[in-house]
Amino acid sequence: MHLYPSSRRRATMLGLALVTAGALALTGCGRSDDTGTGGDGAGTTIDDKPAKGTVEVWTQGADGAKLPEMFEKFKKDNPDVTIKMTQVPDTEFISKMTAAITAGTVPDLIYAFTESQSALLATDGFDPVPDGLVKADDFFPAIWDNSVIDDIAYGVPWYAYADMTIYRKDLAKKAGVEAPTDWDSLRTFGEKLKASGVEYPLALYVNYDSYTARQLLTFAKQNDGGFISDDQKTWTINSPENVEALEYWSGLIKDGLASPDGPAFLDTVSWSTTGKNAAIIDGGPWFIGWFDDANGKGWADENLDLAVAPVGPDGDEATTVGGGSWFVPQDSENKDAAWKFARFMSQPENQVQWYQIFHNMPALKAAWDDPAMQGDRVLDTVKAGLETGVNLPKVSTWTQVGDVIGQQIEKVVRGGISAKDALDEAQKQAESIGTGQ
């Protein structure tokens, strides 16, 4: 996952990424005529012989610091392989990668988080997953589908997470409420907590950008809505279902059940610890560890309860999910070894081992059957959420459009415009931005 960089920086980075992607076409450095582009992996197979040669891997986020432990394990069965790793700042990974694709100076293997996969795949600079390397059905659909464009899979899922409702059990008990299970009970949950003295019972994302838009998307999906058509070609931002979802979401804030001014990312833990908030709606599993970091080991077990995301009025389930997948650039000089490492990382025992090393949870369903993955309430809640994961729009302009949606959401909360007008305007702007396809 994914820090929450400032909108300004992200806008600059996106601009650079788009300029770079444009340059691909202008300079003729795109890969559309190269071998394998647009293929479906047919004709490309990876054998079971040991990998050889040097594999250059670019990593992002903190994962890279621990990955060498997995490299070492891989090298036991592949002694003739050398892995060279470079850590790249994750907020600028797209810029660096698109520039490298433009110039043909790519590494052999990368992983990309769900949020950045569309922008990267829009460069047309990656190979499809070879036939038979992995089986799509083995992975949680939301994570697998995230790197599928026009029915072609480009990424091998590595890890996955699902958000959840994280709430203070003592405050809930005092207010006499149970975990919310649907929209109605979520509102009641907030109202009763408010009545019991909690200033802002619910913590919602308050940076009005693409991350807020992602949260609204989850609510929209719970209401049978969505931001883009199934073929990813038409924006459907102002559909009645989405308008209803925004009315519900913004109503929680307008009625004082959540604050429009916080918590921002960093103070999420402190707001809940001090009781200013009672529940993080749509919170990542890493928050549990953060509570222990801030308040001492065992604090989360003692004070917090967890629940899967509530369902919509008609019982539709949807959960915010994310994760990471492995990708091989078309100009990779050692695709064979790169795909072999991606395959290695998608084996159940290795995904479990990675969880034990770094606490990133498996994207492979079978890995969750391992004894190491049993009897933990966080794992159980995440697993339930992964089954109902929501994909972000798989278009290169998503971040840009997401920011537009976020800005319009803010106008509903602070500017007094209606949810319908806000999403009509977002739809209009999104149509002018396009889908990048």
Binding site: M1, G61, V88, E92, S95, K96, T102, W286, A294
Partner: protein, 275 residues
Amino acid sequence: MKTLSPTRQALTYTALVVITIFMLLPFVWVLFGSFKTQSEFLHSPGAWLPDSFQIQNYVQLFAERGFGNYMVNSVIVSGVAVVGNVVFSAMAGYALAKLRFRRRALVFPLVIAAMIVPYVALFVPQFMVVVQMGLVNTLTAIILPVLVLPLSVFIMRQFAHSVPFELMEAARLDGAGEARLFFRIFLPLTGPGLATVAILSFLTSWNNFLWPLVVAQSQDTYTAPVGLSVASQASNTISFGLLLAGAMVVLLPILILFLFLQKYFIQGVATAGLK
């Protein structure tokens, strides 16, 4: 010069002290934050003082995150950039202001144009040039675009105008050649301009982030800002203590340079636009 009454003087100083404290507050927060643990950030993100002053962030930065190497790279890049800017922009400023040559009138507008064009528009072609030159993943590639900055040429051209023609003509009559004029007459009289160029070019190259990030394709060639961005990445968040400690380390050379050259810098900034 008119002097202020004691009361007005006291008020002025009080106002200046208050403004100074206000402006220093973020810096102080960063400084104190660099001694905090990650859990302190999570528990009380707005707190000013750390529970106890831990130097762990600084130790970790250098011992585990390879920050020393990044700093060395930054020093090399910025050092060469400063020398390049001082030397070449002085020569360019001298030529533009004091020498007569064909198409001279066209050159200066080009320098201004180079200052105006947004960096984003130059980024990709610049990168392609470096790739074609085979310089990707070298410090040379990081240095090249900042070796002569248009702003430096602009500043030195403005300063060159302040050197009287009469003085140079007198030296010419005494038999001085162009080289002697440049080194013995021109350069000593443009000291504040050179100091300004040195500081600005140092700041530009020292703080440069995006270009080194893209050009440096292995961590061996990362500069301090890029290395800091990597070093501060922690599991699912930023390691705030490391980030702030790194910010302090990165800030130090700039502070030192400014302390040594501030007299010339202020003089340079104050007079650059008057020429």
